[in-house]
């Protein structure tokens, strides 16, 4: 028995290690990065370590000079280097000229040779300058987490709102929740009746409807989104058909706006709504509705008091699933939405890929990860008793 247990553990171990390394660790790294001390620290990682033990009172440690030389030799994205220079310059005017000049001198010096910082610029002997550097790279900060919520610390260290013209994240988060809720409602409006129709049919008709739900699931998300772009564009099939029928006389704007996002996302997520509802409808005993009718219930009464309550577990599971998946959507809004329809994922991708600001990307990612995981836990709780019943 012990042997069997050991064997089972050995079989599971590779996946535990694999996901630990390449799933849990990345998420952890993101979390840590989001609370680490900003871009200056990222640009000068070795300097940060060298300055960590310095109390700021005496002379800066000798290792700090070597560390900053080593850091300046690294290839750093230009935007991040610029960001760091701006941050430092706001505390100690002069960094704007000092750092580029030093970087140039260091890169021109042959590798391995010791560089004399004071020889490049005498300001490197100034203790105040090193103090500014140390203060600009605290080990941990809540700056990114606050910035993700459009907050910041004012000069006194109290939490305050950022100026309204810079406050965009909360609006994006609200929009993400609104779009997800809209998509969920649309999926219910289409999916509930469709699942009921499917469950009420038999034979090839039921199979046809089921295949129509399953085929999109097996089709590439990208292909489906590209297809919607063809259908929805100004001279797309839908507008051509409506123009041809004389229903409209100029093309409807169906894409690169909210309508495009809602249509495409509803299409992609509809199967996740239909399948759980259908499953819970199948579990309803066949004689309940005739019984309700025999007892004098009108069709809408038996729907409201018999069918709907029994379909509720499926409806709830489907809604949670659709809402949860919709929160993290990136591809579909990126391709079918306009500038005003981008969801939180787009902002995260912008920070991570566009500006290499991983601290901000991580902080925003955390605010997406928390609701998603919470919904998944609720979903797990919910679907278990439903499956048992």
């Amino acid at each position: 028995m012990i042997r069997q247990r050991l064997n089972a553990c050995l079989l599971v171990a590779p996946l535990v290690v694999f996901l630990g390394l390449f799933f849990i660790w990345p998420l952890w790294a993101m979390l840590v990065t989001s609370v680490q001390g900003g871009t200056v620290r990222e640009t000068f990682p070795q300097t940060a370590i060298a300055l960590a033990d310095w109390d700021g009172a005496g002379e800066p440690p000798a290792a700090a000079g070597d560390a900053i030389v080593a850091d300046l030799r690294l290839e750093v994205p230009t935007e991040r280097f610029g960001d760091s220079v701006r941050t430092l310059n706001s505390q100690y005017p002069g960094f704007r000229t000092l750092l580029p000049r030093t970087a140039r001198a260091v890169r021109e010096a042959p590798a391995g040779e010791k560089v004399d910082l004071a020889g490049i610029d005498p300001r490197w002997t100034d203790r105040a300058l090193w103090l500014v550097m140390k203060r600009a790279m605290p080990a941990y900060t809540d700056a990114n987490l606050l910035a993700a919520l459009d907050l910041r610390r004012d000069d006194a260290g109290a939490i305050a709102a950022v100026p309204p013209e810079m406050a965009v994240n909360r609006a994006t988060m609200t929009r993400t929740f609104v779009i997800s809720a809209q998509v969920t409602l649309l999926c219910i409006a289409i999916g509930l009746p469709f699942a009921m129709i499917t469950a009420s049919l038999t034979g090839w008709k039921r199979n046809l409807l089921l295949v129509a739900v399953l085929l999109p699931l097996w089709t590439s998300l990208l292909v489906r989104t590209a297809s919607w772009m063809i259908l929805l564009q100004d001279n797309g099939l839908i507008n051509q058909a409506l123009l041809g029928l004389g229903i409209i006389d100029r093309p409807l704007a169906l894409i690169y706006n909210r309508a495009g996002v809602l249509i495409a996302m509803t299409h992609v997520l509809l199967p996740f709504m239909v399948l759980p509802i259908y499953a819970s409808l199948l579990a309803i005993p066949k004689n309940l509705l005739p019984a309700a009718a025999a007892l004098g219930a009108r069709p809408w009464q038996s729907f409201l008091h018999v069918l709907l309550p029994l379909a509720m577990p499926g409806l709830l599971a489907g809604s949670l699933l659709v809402f949860m998946v919709a929160l993290g959507y990136y591809i579909t809004p990126a391709l079918t939405g306009g500038a005003g329809d981008q969801m939180i994922s787009s902002v995260i991708a912008f920070y991570a890929i566009g500006t290499a600001n991983w601290g901000m990307a991580g902080a925003l990612g955390l605010f997406l990860l928390i609701p998603t995981t919470a919904l998944y836990l609720v979903y797990g709780r919910l679907s278990k008793p439903a499956g048992a019943a």
Binding site: W358, G365, G380
Partner: protein
């Protein structure tokens, strides 16, 4: 009245679900430079573009390399884990089972950011190994689901019978359990490959220009220069997926038929 409503509503939703799957496909054979109807005439020029243009051809090759790698890795570790979790002999089996599905739940962009940060430190950024591993993480849940369900469907009496007839645990595993679980493993592998083929988001974060996959190439063309080459690529992706899924669905059916014929 209700019957007519059912018919119309059902037909409309079926159209809504299915038309977008097909609308793009005929455009793979347009001879115009625009990705729009009406088509001016049939031609193979965009298929040729796919085969001849460096970017598209490389992306197809990359998708095959990365898809194969991710399928092998995820099927291997996923199948082993499903076997290990089969009889709740592992501590926290229930927790592990839901944890292994998490890559399906965590938003791809979030995982992408984390992987980008980690890969920069590990030196895996812009490497085939890195992209294959990232895709494999996303494929694991599909392997787990399929293998676990085929393992759960195995009649325990069969294995007990084999053991009582004197087969060693190893022989029971190779001659009874594994063949019976094989359809699930294959279906899992197919879904893993299809997942990798369609994956864009994580690829955007961890792949360099040399690892551009077909899906990513499609995504950037859709954003930057829309051309019917996209429709041709879509056709290839759809054919590949459906052939693979068809194979995965056929294998158990053929096996059952063969078994029935032998019996």
């Amino acid at each position: 009245m209700l019957g007519a409503f059912k018919l119309v509503f059902g037909a409309l939703v079926v159209g809504f679900l299915l038309i977008p799957l097909m609308a793009i496909l005929p455009l793979a054979f347009t001879d115009s430079v625009f990705l729009t109807y009406p088509m001016s005439g049939p031609s193979l020029r965009w298929m040729n573009t796919l085969a001849e243009s460096d970017a598209w051809r490389r992306s197809i090759v990359n998708s095959l390399i990365i898809g194969t790698g991710a399928t092998i890795v995820s099927t291997l570790v996923g199948t082993l884990a499903a076997l290990g979790l089969r009889r709740d002999l592992v501590p926290f089996a229930g927790v592990l089972r839901s944890a292994f599905l998490l890559p399906m739940v965590v938003p791809a962009v979030v995982l992408g950011v984390g992987m980008q940060i980690l890969y920069a430190r590990m030196g895996l950024a812009s490497s085939y190994t890195g992209v294959i591993i990232a895709h494999a993480v996303l494929c694991v849940p599909f392997v787990m689901i399929n293998v676990s369900s085929s393992l759960a469907a195995i009649e325990p009496a069969l294995e007990r019978a084999a053991a009582s007839l004197g087969a060693s645990p190893r022989r029971v595993f190779t001659n009874v359990t594994l063949p019976l679980a094989m359809p699930g493993v294959l279906t899992g592998a197919v879904f893993a490959f299809a997942t990798s083929l369609d994956e864009v988001v994580i690829t955007l974060f961890v792949a360099g220009p040399n690892q551009t996959t077909l899906a990513r190439q499609m995504f950037s063309s859709l954003r930057e220069n829309i051309s019917p080459a996209i429709a041709a690529a879509a056709l290839i992706i759809m054919i590949l997926t459906f052939v693979l899924i068809g194979v995965a669905k056929l294998i158990p059916m053929l096996k059952a038929r063969k078994a029935a014929a032998e019996a």
